[in-house]
Subunit: 292 residues, 6 copies
């Protein structure tokens, strides 16, 4: 087990999700935990360990701990791997000790966050590994789960990926819809965009045919995005314009074809699947009574 | 294309997520849409259609429309299938017309909700279909995405599944952790729980060995949950206690083994996978300029 | 003074009301405390004690302290009875020392919570005491004050009562309205509900006539609720169906008639009055300058 | 039935509680209404009437309707008395028609608001009636339910009462605590307060002994508040200083002694009981199927 | 450098803006700090100092620190002047040490608050200084920046000013609009207001002509506000009614004419400019690596 | 009066500030409008006009109207200039008719937004006009008022300016602090940033000496920002690197020197002053009774 990518995953600003945490706990606990509350657990302390039931990459450890600490401010943390850690089946990622009822009632909320983010990080790392030795960068999209944009993009970074634009205000993405709406005059559209936007936004143009690539570059694109095309198209696009603009592949990227894409010479491969369809990481929380 | 399960999927109370919608839009739009805002789209109207790129079950149509209407109150809806509808590849689920910029800036937020919920409904329906002809009911768990508990449980209902307890306050689930913490005296634990809780909460006991089943029933459980056991164990449990309590199978349920489980005679099969790992539904929003 | 019901009142998850606390303080303080702010109180510390001016049962002590600590993180707590404590006139429930201005500006907010919840706990305990020696359980209803559902249900537990369903999603309650709406076919309604709901929800049926009791049980009810009937009706209902279902009395329960109801043999007595009409507990906050 | 106090109760700014309404509904509905959702109620419309089961004064009618409209935007309102209306047992205050499920799931939330506020208005009107013919004004205090300050103060106005200061920032109230903290120099305290505060805040001084009344006035009070004193004290205070300052009675005011207080000549009588201990108004929502 | 007005500026209740702080941080940080996150700054600590680049009066120091502590709970504060401190160019107001990335990502949010509030305090102090030796009090208005009412009114106090009414519920302000709407009968309007409002609200009447002053006083005003009039008008108004009511000047007050106004004898001068148009204070945050 | 810059100011997504509007109204109205509420204004309708008392550029008209409509859903709008409109003294920007009390209680909140944003737009337009005929673009900074980032950046666009990066996640800005922290190795820092960030973020480097300009470009900067330098420095920088990178001037820009800067040939001039210190626009709301 080792830190996946050690210095490049500074911790998420967990302090910005405190009110989310409060709401998540409230939604799960509601009017009380009808299982643990009635049991004679006053003053009982317990140790809980997060156990990996399959291998993966950790993401959300700090959030997991923040949720438990919100529930039990006296929580003692004896182990916590940093986000970005690659773990194997059977390894313990986190170990904490605290009040039994307080841990039991926050357990599910904390795990739901950790397994969701670690699932994304783990899938991302699969894509990233398949690009080793190429210059292709794996990036996410805006296809994220409602309310979790910044967390999921952080999970992608934990898995070794990079982030595409965070939102509509950060970078331009001209799709065929936009171009059609303005009379198919791509050059005029880009000119107008550059005139009005500030200087920090790049202009990316989506093309769905290899014939449009040079046109996009000629019109002034900084990035050309090949939408639902093939690695061979990618190779051709790179030859045509690879020294002038960034070439991005998007649409239909899978673990099966990502290597082909990476070897085509494209600079960037964007994968919506990593954030919108990653299966949850298989992590469980094992409780141990302190006496056992 | 037909309504999956027509009268049993009353619409989600979308009115309770209005502030979530506002926040989701704010997070995506931020300081403005640097692509569409500069384009000369004042007064331009556009038609957008949600197109199925693979088959599935719809969930979240009302939420999708509410997001678009939040962005464009003048939205005209010309088609919208009800939630629970089974659709095939190539079908149009929704068709709306509205202001180009207002639709473009809400598109991603609306689609992210719809594809997430429809993904859950679609996967749920796969499990449900595999139980046809048995008495087994497919239910979800509390393993939901942070912040989306009630929406995801609704999606499960859209797919033909039923809901396990909504939160910690609604129903008792005694796991081995709980029992260990109170000195392994299950009978005393249940007695205490019944004494203190109100009369509307059922008591479910998790067992991980067939030998514990009769013990749980003897101690007063209403539901016995077989955790990570086999369909054969299920069959045995049903024979032992099936006429006294509800028997639930949980843990390790997959599309491959769910039929075996269903045929074992258990009453309920709970599947965390449906909510925490369902891939997003493959739906896209196609824009058409009104003149085209 | 002793803990009312010692091991069964685990503390409320106060961490889930932090943003409420912030809002409550903001609404009372607004642009500043125009009384204390101008006075020369820099660095002045003060001791404040919560004094009982009549007897009752404590509820909300943890919330009271959390509010004061929010205002003054340096607060020193020298006494705090646990929730559920029965207290007499003249007793001190809580004693704290802190910054004068910070205590003065949070005082009213903290007391408003404590006296509201203790009022409910105290009234609940009156009902509970009158059922001693019977099997009848005192429970609340959903008739709670807007925004305070979970806190008020907790206060009921502090007073020795139990909770009816926390919300619409936890348990079924078929009223005559529902039955009328579906053509008066109770059996079909229950069948449909059981088919679609998960396995953790019980079905309660409201009846307003003794003749309907057996009908409800025959249709499959788990609980029969006698609405606005008499203790004699209760006795009859228990004889008819008491060994098959839970019998609940509701409507018109008062401190005067609750004993009659309890002795009728019903299992559960639900009282809306405890949450929607409990008078506030008579507790005052006495300040002492540290020099006095 | 007639408007209690017709022109002086402008409607509450209900638009400022929309997010509260959303949260209240969410807390009650949670993951769905397990009673109504499974029933075959698609497209069924229903009429609901608020029926008075005892007499009182209405408050919160606009809020009640706003909650129902949030749940069912197609709601048709056929009757709604204005807030401040005095009603008798058996009268219908509100009549609406809408979608059955949407009304059923918002019913309890809407009623909880209406009965809470009408309870306060009704109790206030009892106090107000007992002061008829005197100059004494009935006012509330800051002893309000957490989160409901502005609504409860509105309910007091609906009942014919007036409002004491809305919060700590609006008006000065010097209690003995404050005076003790600054060395018992009331004159210096008031001088300092007036020097620093703006010109819109009045200064009220609490006294608990008739001997302190002239002292307070001499020190510069605008209002003298007699705390837990007797109507005879009130009479004496009025004779001493009634032409110089406003005299307020507070503490221990009940329906039994309020007339004595009013006749003592005091200007203002403040009653915490009206907001913190008013029993809920006895109003029920009767559903009628549209066919019946 | 000395405390401006030492004992009269009790610290703002910063605990009431915690959720604002969380939101402000979230809006600036979004999906991560793309500048600092990639740099190898793990474990690097840094010292940051707030340096005055021009003179002024401090306001918001506690808020500035609370924001940094939210981002870095391990923050060490080595210097922090109290709010209300007059500072000169080149002085250090605050010095803190903490984690480099955590300070860098909260820096702008913290500074934006501090410079905004200190700008208001500084401008206020300019007005206040120009009234020295007169009885005129400088007060603010309700012309504040959306969302920052209580903070900006606090900043005014830091600068030595006082606060006009905090909101619509605290004090009456009859403008000509109001009077016109009720048929120009000022006396009747005031009578009605006094009859219905509680006893803690003063009545202020706006006049825009010297001829209306005595009329306002005769009708029962507590305060007469001269709207957009001249210091000579002020002098005349004071002679006419200065011993009966408070005279306030408002409208068109500038640093150039405020002295004239103060010398006219008016009691209060209200200045909207201080809150809605104060330039930000010129404060910068200088970082020092701990090794340098 | 004419639209300032007609097609390039698409309306702000006002739907994303609905909960802010609710909170702003709540903070101003509190427990009620003690001036208008008591007056006999039931059913009285009124016309209100926004009048320009000095010239400027409009921003926030849609937000102003949304606030009034929140308060009075029946509002009738008879005139409303589009944002970006240049107006002169004496012109009417907006005219609405509605319920008197509902307009009076929302007036201040609505005006506070409109005058704040229009103040920023107006000041921005002053800067923009002074750059006419040059290629220099006027942009804002992240020095915005807490909570108002996206609105203020929109106001800048209304005034003809462009936006610098919306937040920390959109674009890289390497300041000397960053470079010092990583051992002054700018090249290595940029390489690392490019390796880890996605492909949509540009890299801007701040320099405070002309000698550093070529160094920054050599290290790989996309944008070089001249911090607190002179127009002559700007000219020199443009000559050195103007054909390779974007050159931005920042720090100390005023209406006096902006023309010099624009003529120096720099591409971008960033001005914090426009957002953090713009005086409020002088707009007033004039009420007219409908009969007058």
């Amino acid at each position: 087990m080792g830190k996946y990518n050690d210095s490049i995953i500074p911790d998420f600003p967990w302090e910005t999700i405190d009110s989310d945490i409060e709401r998540w706990l409230e939604q799960d606990i509601g009017c009380g935990d009808v299982t643990s509350d009635p049991l004679p657990l006053d003053g009982v302390r317990i140790t809980a360990e997060v156990l990996a039931k399959s291998k993966g990459v950790a993401s959300g450890v700090g959030g997991f701990l923040r949720i438990l600490k919100k529930s039990d401010p006296e929580l003692v943390i004896t182990k916590a791997v940093p986000d970005g850690t690659q773990y194997n089946t059977g390894e313990i990622l986190i170990s904490v000790t605290g009040d039994a009822r307080r841990l039991l009632r926050a357990e599910r909320t904390a795990l739901n966050l950790l397994t969701h983010l670690s699932g994304i990080a783990s899938l991302t790392s699969e894509f990233v590994k398949l690009t080793v030795g190429t210059k292709a960068k794996i990036v996410d999209t805006r296809k994220t789960t409602p309310g979790l944009r910044s967390l999921e993009k952080y999970a992608v970074r934990c898995g070794g990926g990079s982030n595409h634009r965070p939102g509509l205000d950060a970078s331009v993405m001209l799709k065929d819809n936009h171009v059609a709406l303005v009379g198919s005059n791509l050059e005029e559209a880009i000119k107008r965009i550059r005139q009005i936007n500030g200087h920090t936004t790049k202009v990316e143009v989506e093309v769905d045919d290899i014939d449009m690539v040079e046109n996009a570059v000629g019109a002034g694109a900084d990035v050309v995005m090949l939408d639902n095309m093939t690695p061979d198209d990618g190779r051709e696009a790179v030859q045509l314009v690879g020294d002038q603009v960034i070439v991005e592949a998007s649409g239909g990227i899978t673990l099966e074809n990502v290597r082909d894409w990476a070897e085509s010479g494209v600079d960037v491969i964007s994968v919506g699947f990593m954030t919108h369809s990653a299966p949850s990481a298989d992590l469980s929380l094992e409780f141990k009574s302190l006496d056992s």
